[in-house]
């Protein structure tokens, strides 16, 4: 079987309630849905066997966006919706089949940076529970 590899994009990231979702994709230079799994210590028992420690996975949606300083900017969206729990849909590539959806907690992001520079802002939004894999429409 030949190896398969895809580039990220063109895709999309929409965040917001149904009917008023906001498209982030056009401003993003980076976007990732990242798991972080932690394991508790294994427990040795009298019989000599080992009880595996509990494992837990949390997720975050992160990326980097181009700042634009307009009143409808994504920096502004993050400020206006700070600490709100909003649904998202992440499509890594529209030429692929997979999408990921879930709910994230929006946090405010950096505005500004170096003078005479096209500044970017990094964001990291906590995913509540787990993302749900889906198929691109």
């Amino acid at each position: 079987m030949p190896p398969k590899s895809s580039k990220l994009g063109p895709g999309g990231l929409t965040i917001g309630a149904t009917g008023s979702p906001r498209e982030f994709g056009a401003q993003l230079t980076k976007c990732a849905l990242t798991p972080d799994t932690s394991f508790e210590d294994d427990i040795p028992v009298l019989s000599g066997e080992t009880q595996a420690g509990d494992a837990d996975t949390t997720w975050e949606l992160s990326g980097t966006l181009l700042q634009d300083y307009e009143v409808d900017s994504l920096e502004d969206f993050c400020f206006q919706n700070r600490l709100q729990e909003l649904p998202f849909v992440f499509v890594p590539s529209r030429s692929g089949a997979r999408s990921y959806s879930g709910v994230v907690t929006i946090t405010p992001i950096t505005v500004g940076g170096d003078v005479k520079t096209r500044n970017t802002s990094d964001f990291t939004f906590r995913v509540i529970g787990e993302p749900t894999p889906g198929e691109v429409d």
Partner: protein, 123 residues
């Protein structure tokens, strides 16, 4: 056919000409044609500015950032102060409006190579 960088280059030419005229330096040649630079850069002329094709970055699928380098050329190495003075006058006239981030001493092709400055800015 769309050639947005060429269209932008022609706009930059006009912007530079306006800045030069405002500074009383309208005898400086501004061109995309490098073959015209040497003649216009002589001490007996006013100086020359060459707009080079920009380097391009595509940080997203919908954005393109163009980094422009324009070269100001004037005089001869044997008349360093006169050459530098004119180059500095031209830089002072055009750099603020272009939002220049770097101006680097350089030289143009020739024997002897005329003094020059390379100015860089990003759209």
């Amino acid at each position: 056919m769309s050639a947005p960088r060429v269209e932008r280059a022609l706009e930059i030419v006009e912007e530079i000409r306006a800045s030069l005229e405002e500074a009383g330096l309208s005898d400086v040649l501004v061109t995309l044609d490098g073959s015209k630079i040497a003649a216009a850069a002589r001490l007996s002329a006013g100086g020359a500015i060459h707009i080079r094709p920009p380097s391009l970055k595509f940080p997203t699928h919908s954005h393109t950032f163009a980094t422009w380098t324009i070269v100001i050329v004037y005089g001869t190495p044997t008349e360093q102060v006169a050459s530098w003075t004119r180059l500095d006058e031209i830089i002072a006239a055009i750099a603020p409006d272009l939002d220049v981030t770097v101006a680097q001493p350089s030289s143009w092709e020739g024997k002897p190579p005329p003094p020059a400055y390379e100015l860089t800015f990003t759209d």
